[in-house]
């Protein structure tokens, strides 16, 4: 199973980390992967996005023009990238921050109240992992265990204590879209 995804939001929403963990997990499952970031002109707090490719064959261009999957964590990202998604592709958007609805009807669209669920889980910063969970469930591109292993690495040391809440977020995200 291979995937071309664009994950977008504003700085601080953890879209970059989300992408890296996804790619890393892909590597652990012996796939060819690339991760490529892009930042807006704003210094910080501006829009940021990354492209992740996970594939069985070596990856040519790490830059994606037509993603299979778009994650939009804030409104500008949705507005900027919605039109680029492959027909029939997946669109997950953060419904806690984005009040508008996507326009396209040729996509599998999922509204994910990421901030809300995160706050419920007691850590407003794990919204990205909620969405990550949803992606795993929807795409099956990598296994949950692999991602969890990756988290172990990513949060080794001081951040150890953050692992449980992130795991909870992942599972919440998966549940949210199960069977949808």
């Amino acid at each position: 199973m291979s995937l071309e995804a664009i994950l977008a939001g504003f700085g601080g929403q953890g879209v970059m980390l989300m992408g890296q963990i996804l790619a890393y997990a892909g590597m652990c499952e012996d796939k060819h992967v690339t991760w490529f970031p892009a930042y807006g002109p704003e210094m910080r707090g501006g829009t940021a996005n990354c492209s992740v490719v996970i594939s069985k064959i070596p990856v040519g261009s790490p830059v994606i023009s037509e993603p299979d999957l778009l994650v939009a964590m804030n409104r500008p990202s949705l507005e900027k990238f919605e039109k680029t998604v492959k027909p029939g592709g997946i669109l997950c958007y953060n419904s806690s921050l984005i009040e508008i609805k996507p326009e396209r009807n040729d996509l599998k669209v999922f509204a994910i109240p990421a901030n809300q669920i995160a706050t419920e889980l007691g850590n407003s910063r794990v919204g990205n992992m909620v969405v990550m969970g949803a992606i795993l469930e929807l795409t099956q591109v990598v296994k949950l265990e692999t991602v969890l292993k990756t988290l172990q690495k990513a949060f080794a040391g001081k951040k150890q204590n953050l692992i449980p809440v992130n795991q909870a977020a992942l599972e919440a995200g998966m549940k949210l879209v199960q069977g949808k």
Partner: protein
Amino acid sequence: MERVFGKPAGLQEQEFHYCPGCTHGIIHRLVAESIDELEVRKRTVGIAPVGCSVTAYNYFNCDVQQAAHGRAPAVATGIKRVLPENIVFTYQGDGDLASIGIAEIIHAANRGEKITVIFVNNAVYGMTGGQMAPTTLLGQKTTTSPFGRDAESMGYPIKVVELLNTLTAPVFLARVSVHDPKQIVKAKAAIKKAFSAQVVEKGFALVEVLSTCPTNWGMAPVEAMKWVENQMIPQFPLGILRDFEEVAR
């Protein structure tokens, strides 16, 4: 009721792209207010540096040239020599002015170019992601001094105003801060004076403004203001080191 405070005419409508709480915005406003109050906007030419304020031409409501990294004082020299009647100012960060551009600022100051320099000292390279600057404090952690600035191999924070004060030509040299409203008022006065030095055709004027970089300092804006007060000021004492009016008297 009438408006007693708001956006000065010296600023365009455009919103700043600076990070939340970054004091570049305050300094921009003070510069614009000074230009307004001296009524020189129409004959002012600004020089944007390379740094977070590289796009200053989107904010200042006057003609602007964007200069190569560190070379703003040379560009200002070229402009001022062609347009002696104009008000020419550079707006530069500490990487731009004190590192790559130290030769240009020293020689422009030494020639006594009749320009105004706004020197924003935030103790790091902001735009490129928080690397060490010549003004980084000892022990301060940056992305290129991950274990803290160590005098033995990286040297000491450079005091630009004191350095320039060894030269004969400059007519106004001051260091101010914008970490609280009182200081902001003082900073404004110094910046306005530095511009007026050109209006009365005195000569080279520079104001060093202690500024924050919450993003790269990894602090909340309010916390960053405290850091300026408690950490930076002891290293970079505030004050007016040279003043053409003092000299005059």
